[in-house]
Symmetry: C2
Subunit: 348 residues, 2 copies
C-alpha cells in the first residue's frame, strides 16, 4: 500500500506535478497521450491523492457533514433510511460523509465548518426554535435543513409536506363518510423538544378538519409503547360518538403498539373504526395488519436534500432552487379505512 504522492506519479509519467493535478481535476485541457500516460502511472502506483493536502491547497474537502439525532428512540423512528440514502448519494457524487450527532448542538456545526472538515452540512431533527439554525446560517458553508424551523434564517429546507399529509388524512376520512376523528398525537419526547413536524402536522390537521367540518380530538402527549397505546385506545373507545370513527396516527413509532392495543380490545381497524398512519410504505405493508398509510418518504427527502446541497456547492447556470422543498406524501389504502357507505359522498 501506497504512500505515493503526485510527485511520484509525475516522475513516472514524465510530466510535471501540476499536469498530474490537472489530469485529476480536469480543470485544464490535457492532450490525450499525456493524459493516458498519467493515468497509467497512477494506476501502476495505485495512487490516491492525500485528502488533507487536497483540502488545504484546494479549499475543498469533498466531504459533507451529516448531523443526525441519536437520542434514545431514534431507532424506532426510521433514521436509517435517511443516513443510508444520503451516504449513497454522497458517494455517487464523490463526496464522503462525516457523521455528527445532534447532541453536540451548535458546537458540532462550528467544528465542522471551523476546522474545514466538510464543504457543506445536512442537518436533521430540527426544532421549531432551534438555536442551531442561527448558527448554521452564519457559517461560511452551505447548510441544508431536513425539517422546517419557524425561522429558516434563509437556509434551504427539505422535508415531507406534513401539511399535505394532514389534508390527505382529513380528506380521506371525510370523503368516506366519517363523523369524527381522533389524532393519536406525539409522545412527550417529541412535544417537549418542539420538533418542527409535530406542530406543522397538528396545526394543519386542525385547520383542515375545521374546514371540512370534521369533529376532531387530539390526544397528546401519547406515551410510547404498550401502556400509552392502551390508554389512547381506551380513550377513543370511551369518548367516541356514535357513527364512523377515524383514528390518525402521525407518529411512526406509535402505530405498532396502537395496532396491538386495538387487537387486544378486539377492535378491528377497517371494520370497527378507521385507521390511517403516517409511516414508510414498507412499514405499513409489513405490519400486522397492514394499514392504510400516508407515506413518509425518507429516501426521497434525503435525495432531494443532497441534490439541494450539491446545487449550493455548485450553483450552475440554471434558474434558482426553491428555498423550501416539500415532498408530497401519497396515500395507500390497505383496508384499515372503512369504505364510504353507499349513500355517502364518493371518495376523492
Amino acid at each position: 500500500m501506497a504512500a505515493f504522492t503526485s510527485k511520484d506519479v509525475a516522475r513516472l509519467a514524465g510530466v510535471s506535478q501540476s499536469t498530474v493535478s490537472y489530469v485529476m481535476t480536469g480543470k485544464r485541457q490535457i492532450s490525450e497521450p499525456t493524459r493516458q500516460r498519467v493515468l497509467a502511472a497512477m494506476k501502476q502506483l495505485t495512487y490516491e491523492p492525500h485528502a488533507g493536502a487536497r483540502a488545504l491547497a484546494g479549499r475543498r474537502t469533498q466531504v459533507v457533514g451529516l448531523v443526525v439525532p441519536f437520542d434514545s428512540m431514534s431507532e424506532m423512528t426510521g433514521l436509517l433510511p435517511f443516513i443510508e440514502t444520503i451516504a449513497s448519494s454522497a458517494r455517487a457524487n464523490d463526496y464522503e460523509v462525516l457523521l455528527v450527532t445532534a447532541d453536540e448542538g451548535s458546537a458540532g456545526l462550528r467544528r465542522l465548518a471551523g476546522r474545514a472538515l466538510c464543504d457543506a452540512i445536512i442537518m436533521m431533527d430540527i426544532q421549531e426554535q432551534d438555536e442551531r439554525v442561527q448558527v448554521a446560517a452564519a457559517l461560511p458553508i452551505p447548510v441544508v435543513l431536513v425539517g422546517m424551523p419557524d425561522d429558516p434564517a434563509g437556509l434551504y429546507c427539505v422535508d415531507l409536506d406534513f401539511d399535505a399529509a394532514a389534508r390527505i388524512a382529513v380528506d380521506e376520512l371525510v370523503d368516506s363518510g366519517h363523523d369524527e376523528a381522533f389524532i393519536i398525537g406525539y409522545p412527550a419526547a417529541v412535544t417537549d423538544r418542539r420538533l418542527n413536524f409535530a406542530g406543522r402536522f397538528l396545526r394543519s390537521v386542525r385547520r383542515h378538519a375545521e374546514m371540512r367540518g370534521l369533529p376532531l380530538t387530539v390526544l397528546e402527549p401519547v406515551a410510547l409503547g404498550r401502556a400509552g397505546a392502551a390508554a389512547a385506545v381506551e380513550h377513543v373507545l370511551a369518548h367516541r360518538r356514535p357513527g364512523r370513527t377515524g383514528v390518525v396516527v402521525p407518529y411512526n413509532a406509535s402505530i405498532r403498539p396502537l395496532l396491538h392495543a386495538l387487537r387486544a380490545r378486539a377492535v378491528v381497524p377497517g371494520r370497527d373504526l378507521s385507521l390511517i398512519g403516517i409511516s414508510t410504505d414498507h412499514q405499513a405493508e409489513d405490519s400486522e395488519p397492514p394499514y392504510t398509510n400516508i407515506s413518509e418518504e425518507p429516501r426521497d427527502v434525503s435525495r432531494r436534500a443532497m441534490k439541494t446541497l450539491l446545487w449550493l456547492l455548485d450553483p450552475g447556470p440554471g434558474v434558482g432552487h426553491p428555498p423550501v422543498d416539500l415532498v408530497a406524501p401519497r396515500l395507500t389504502r390497505r383496508g384499515t379505512v372503512m369504505p364510504a357507505p353507499a349513500s355517502a359522498a364518493r371518495p376523492s
Copy 2:
C-alpha cells in the same frame, strides 16, 4: 466565522506559531502564563485548527472510518445502535466518524487508507470468506472487525459470542426438560452472503444440542416476513414430536413475524411451546408478547471495538490486547419458555 489561522493566534498572543501548536497538542511543556495567553487568544478568535493542514503535517486525521452494511434490510437488523455507539465513543475521544457503505467493498477501504481520510477503520458485516479482510490486513492503518471471518488475517475482532449464545439456548431448553428443539434459521439474504455469525451460531448449536442429547431440527433458509414465518410455524407444528418443544430464533428480524404467525395459529409461547430469541433486550421487552431472549449487545460490542481501535492507535505501556474479543450474551426470561415440570432437572 473564522478563517483565522494559528498564525493569527500566535500574533495576538505574542508568541510563535509553534508555541500555539504545542499548547494545543500538549507535546511540550508551556509555562502557565504563556499557555493562558494563547488559550485566551484562541477563544477570542474562536480559532479552530484546519483539519486538512493538521492531517498533512501531523499525519493524524483524528477520524475513524466506519464501514457499515446498508443493504435492503439493515433497517430491520438493528444497525443503528452500532453506529450510534461508535459515533459517541469516537467523539468522546476526539475522533470524527467517516461513514462508508459496505457495498463499496475493498475499494472503500483503499480509499480510506490511501487518501489518508482516517487513522483507523471499523468494519462491520463480515462474511466468512471476506475478500476485504485480506485487503484490510494489508492496509497501513489498523482495522477492527465487528464479526469473525474464518481467517482474521491477524486483525482484531470484536463480536457477540454466538457460540455462548447457542450454548445458553440449548442449556435453557434442556434444563427445563424440553424434548426437542427447532432452530428458525437465517434468511437466504444472510446465508447466501455467508455472514459469519450465522455459521458460528449454527455450528455451535448443533454441537451443543448433540452433547446434551437434544434432538434438533434446523429450518433454513427461512424467508423474512409473514409468509416465511407462517411456513416455519406450519413446519414446526406438523413435525414436532410429542412432548415439550423449544423454538430458537437466532435472527433478530425473524422474531416478530414469527410471533405473529404463532398468534395466528393460536399457539401461545410459554404454554404450547417454548421460544427463545436472540435480540436486543429492548426489542424483547417491547415485543408483543415480550419473549425470553439472549441478548445481542450492540452497544457493548461497539464500545469494545472502539476501545480496541483506540488501543491500536496508541498501544500504551500495558500488556497486549486480546486479538479476539467476544462479548458474553445474557439470557433474560420473559415467560416464553415453559418452566421445568416438577420432576425434571432443575434449571441452571
